[in-house]
Amino acid sequence: MALKVLAPLAGAIVGLADVPDPVFADALVGPGVAIEPAADSVEVGAPIAGVLVKVKPHAFVVVADSGRGVLVHLGIDTVKLGGEGFEVLHGEGDAVAAGDPIVRWQPTAIRSAGLSAICPVVALDATSVEDIAAGGVSRGDPLFTWV
């Protein structure tokens, strides 16, 4: 059954192959798409409904009832920031609805720190995804479909 994955934040669509990190660009983590956040995209929402199986300040994974998991990774190499500048709004194990705010951050602060603020959104262990959005998205817009 197809899973509709929503944009966690507003911004410009960037192909995963163009993300400045081979782990994402080579789809080692899975297929998906990335978003270059708008400067005021400070709140990041859950891309699907499910359980927050993993939450770090700079990344989180929501797993649907079907067992499918979607990873949202805020910026590239942002693990180096050690959580500074990120406010986590939920705990691991929490059930969340699609669109529920999960993390607050400042894309502009990430860029000031010399890091990329691009956010890969990845369908973990998926073979492929379809109907990928193009151009720009608002938070909550359809981002891609996991068939």
Binding site: V53, K54, H73, L124, D125
Partner: protein
């Protein structure tokens, strides 16, 4: 079934980048490989990035790798070496 115990040396444990490299190596081995944390019951499919991320392996955690099939020992040696490497 061949088994290895490894203490995970990467500073951030098995998070996105090291997890992805581990899963790719496990998948490339072409045989069934599982990974579990010493002291807990779960055995995750080492070829599933979601299963590996959900294990939440931290720096210093000891993990058990199991593999079954042709060249299981060689595959486990490679995977154990990957996990035992501190980050570059």
């Amino acid at each position: 079934m061949p088994v290895r115990h490894v203490a995970v040396a990467g500073a951030e444990g098995l998070h996105a980048r090291p997890a992805a490299l581990f899963v790719k190596a496990a998948t490339d081995a072409g045989i069934a490989v599982t990974i579990g944390k010493v002291g807990s019951d779960g055995h995750a499919d080492a070829r599933s990035i979601l299963a590996v991320l959900a294990l939440d392996v931290r720096h210093g955690d000891e993990v058990v790798l199991r593999a079954d099939g042709d060249d299981a020992d060689a595959a486990l040696d490679r995977l154990a070496a990957l996990l035992g490497e501190p980050d570059a």
